[in-house]
Symmetry: D2
Subunit: 349 residues, 4 copies
């Protein structure tokens, strides 16, 4: 059994990791940390796990984590991961970081968007962007995996085949993201009034308009795919549901293409992928159909009136948009079947 | 008291009209029709109105409606309005049509998008698009008002100042609409499984991809504003809430502009409007804040990275996106204070 | 115009008062207070009211309120009302208190349930329980009205005819309350994690089990009706909706009765009441049908198997269960039509 | 691998069986039936299962099912199960019936509550009520298991220790059930307007008042536990969430008892049970904490004021209240670990 620890397990991303890793047949959870909850029993903090674990939250101590685990998941706030990673890496531990700290390869971009300098240049240099559909081989060898943000996961999977093939043009892309409340900034159980039931229920709103930090992640990966700088417009939205991330991306096409041709392109691009489902022409993705799973469902439609493609993806922001995707990366790193621990179908309805 | 009838009052648009007109101080509701519910008491069908009305649904008979009312609201399905309008107009009745039948001035566009020929060319010729902020004077004189669809209302109000001023470019516009379930095709109390609680709850999805019938309405009005043909990409979404329509429109800018300049432009464009609230820079619209009212809240943000403006509007699809806006048109037609019957603040929370 | 102030207007009860009083034709809102928001514009704190008010929150200063208003609504936390009331009453101002401070006539009961002594015996002595259907005449003369809690309103209206008639027995009554989140302790925009969207959504739970403070209120009023001490079992629940309070009360019957007889009894008891709707046999109340209004819908069903009556009520916890009912009391105190300012039908759907 | 078929798999109960059985390590799904969907691919009807199954719906043919499966789950409407069971039993197949057809041992009770005579007396005679915590040994030997209704499961588990011990009295019990929409009559994807999103959302209501068919099931099992006839009052409610069933039962106590004593009694009664979690004094069950699982969380509180116990249970109506409990019965019948296929923790949040 591989010894695995989860640092920063008090948020929803951490809770989802515990739910998945707790029944992963090749993994033993050996430690969970939380500054806030140190000393408390895991199943007292998370009553849904009552009877399923006897772990107790401990403080975030990278040296101790290195003693107790072979692989460490970090579900810490950004800026905190880059303090823990150097210790864990020095001790030879492999790390899957769910924070934003190692996603941007260009440290100056980090400074621009996160308003603080990055302190672990060595980590940045070795980090692999944890998107298996694009970087499977690198993940397999990685010591440090930077797991994507939920919005970038949705946007990149929705548009990658177009950018990679050259059919999609790099300018004029507009991405509209719609996230459930567990994904939209509430992962640390924040109590900003915006996240109160009475305020978020029966309500839709945009936020982070023209400034959301997931934007450069999308641009980095799509630029890499098409070989040219992609600058795109991204607007995230808070939607009244717990889990679910829906992405609507509009991509200008360099030449005419039918929906059937686009679907064929997507089918080829994602051939063999265990967790990406390219829907047949005429079917539409919904977040409900992927809830609780690592699936991402995709639809692409040609719009000849505007010479654009409408690219739609649905995923669970805690699933393929977060913790489950992290477990997929773990499976790749260990050489296991990528479905290990991720076999359970989506919860419907 | 003006005698007013509502035809097709069994759907949600009709119910909202009844809620508003029932307490409008200058109006007397004299007839309600419904094919399906003919003979049933209004307050039995709509128990929220129990004790507030003694009306009984009657069949849709335009001649009888012309006898009983001075102004007739039509909340009928499209194709049915164009059968009733000629009779009502011949009898000299003024009509406010909430269906799609008279919104597109070009009958061939109607045929293209609605897959059927239009049968009332005379009506089309005289119809005024019932968007007070653009066509107030014409509405005041109109015999037939074609009240806008909910998505066009959100999209047009969000972008009109940019198109009118020439700052917004007519190509490359991308409009993303998010609608509550009362607006997204469920107005007739349809029982398509997609609208079941268990299916729509905790779910987000797009529909009508690249083919939604509200698209040509947006293009018609925005083309009129900018003097050039606007062709835009529109994607509607079904969101798990009852009421609310949020629009996110991305408009390419012809020259650089700051958010402050854009907000000033919007302030000027909508100066004096009783129901459009241009929010100060830094504030964001939410559908909750306009629920049950005729308000439309607007935010515009410049994105210098992409040379685009992000234009956001929030309205209630049954309010400014439907019935309440129809009442505003009625007030304009009658020369009354536009706020008559629309005084109640939004219901919060 | 009557000058009216609202103290403690930052919570949802206060906001609902502002929504209603702002369009009450006989009332002028002259002051709003909030410790937390003092100095802020009302329409900045409550953006749904943008453009509808130019008031600014001030500190809670009873002397100043007495200067500025003829009638003062108190939407303060309990313990705070009893500090403001003596000043307001000394200055001759009439007060409608929405807190729990003056609801229990027996000060020792207050101490038992609220864990603190009551400090205003004089106020307690003159306070009238603000339930118009039971105490209309006293309210008309009252200087101080103690507006009922939302759960007691639902439970008392649901069962009063049975207790008053002697048909219902005073022991063995079981009351089950189901409240939307605006009513269940979240009125002050509390940020207890229990009220977060992610926790309250898709969830049902009981709370305050066997200890909820609304219990003695129910017992006081029902004991008064039947002339014997009523001791009942009450369990409140938090339900995932914003507004709505549904009560299911099971009352043992002293002798057999049919549903038709029970409905007739209720019809007679509530004859002429403008806001209580006793539904015909076979129809069932739903919270949706009273949303945003002062209505309370009632159903009573005989269960001959158990010799009990099932008594059901539906109301809006901010409506008949709170602020709207307070406005009804104001109307009674002023001798106005009880429907003044409460004319708007429920918002559906 | 045990060959298992699911008849009536088009509803939500069936879908949940497919979700669970599809990843059960000892089971092979060999057939799924649906009159309505015969000939359609399972993963077309249930897109969340896309890629996870190649089964095709077939018609309900008991002879064919007997050929294809060793154990057959029936998720059929009542009255249909009793037509299939005799064939399957004659062919020696073991059956787990999720319908109501075999739950009431007294055929006359069936006739009374279901308004139709029962046609399979032999089946009734051999059927075992599939509640493992009460009938584990009989289930292990059973050829035909009648899986409990969701409300009875919640009510019986919540009160069984009191009735069995004699501490709870058999008269005066009041049970209040609150169900998510997947459980409250919508399992067959019914399109009654009551189940539309726009009607069920932001709404609470009671239904089946004093007449719900789950009542005699509760009485049968509780009478069996206490050795006296139990007649109880049960009221079910429809709550706006997809999954979740919360039960609030009020049980008169024959003698005084503290909460601690009651909790100890429950702990002893459910000692060793893998899926019943008796919460410590002071903690409260919530449906969220059991979502997607076979757990039932329980709290019991003494109310000395009323000499009653408040008994609370939370379960997933498709989980312990339906399909997952059926899988637990299968595990017992086969002599497998009862947790087989039910290992996944609840989905939170």
């Amino acid at each position: 059994m591989l010894r695995v620890a989860v640092a920063g397990a008090s948020g929803y991303m951490g809770a989802e990791l515990l739910r998945l890793l707790g029944v992963h047949s090749k993994v033993q959870l050996t430690a969970v940390t939380s500054e806030r909850l140190s000393g408390e029993r895991l199943d007292h903090v998370f009553p849904h796990l009552r009877g399923l674990s006897s772990l107790v939250f401990q403080e975030v101590d990278p040296e101790r984590l290195a003693d107790e685990a072979d692989v460490v998941f970090l579900a810490l706030p950004h800026m905190e991961s880059q303090r823990a990673v150097p210790v864990l890496r020095r001790r030879g531990r492999r790390v899957i970081d769910l924070s934003a700290d190692y996603r941007l390869r260009d440290a100056s971009l980090y400074t621009t968007w996160y308003k603080a300098p990055h302190v672990d240049a060595a980590g940045l240099a070795e980090a692999v962007y944890g998107l298996p559909e694009l970087h499977r081989k690198a993940i397999a060898q990685a010591g440090l995996v930077a797991s994507p943000g939920c919005y970038p996961m949705g946007a990149i999977l929705a548009t990658a085949p177009l950018l990679k093939s050259g059919l999609g043009r790099p300018e004029g892309i507009v991405v509209d993201g719609k996230s459930g409340v567990t994904g939209a900034g509430a992962q640390g159980r924040k109590t900003d009034p915006m996240y109160l039931y009475t305020e978020a229920n029966e309500n839709v709103q945009a936020y982070g308009i023209a400034t959301h930090r997931h934007t450069p992640e999308m641009e980095q990966e799509l630029s890499g795919l098409c070989g040219q700088p992609v600058v795109l417009s991204f607007t995230p939205h808070l939607i009244p549901l717990n889990r679910g991330l829906f992405t609507t991306a509009s991509v200008p096409l360099g030449k005419p293409a039918s929906t059937a041709e686009l679907v064929a392109l997507y089918r080829e691009f994602y051939a063999g992928e265990p967790f990406v489902r390219v829907l047949p022409e005429g079917e539409r993705p919904t977040t409900r159909r992927v809830l609780g799973s690592n699936f991402c469902d995709l639809t692409v439609v040609a719009d000849p009136r505007t010479s654009r493609a409408v690219c739609l993806s649905a995923l669970d922001n805690l699933g393929k948009g977060g913790s489950a995707n992290g477990v997929q990366s773990l499976n790749i790193m260990m050489g296991w079947d990528e479905r290990s621990g991720l076999e359970a179908p989506p919860v419907y309805p």
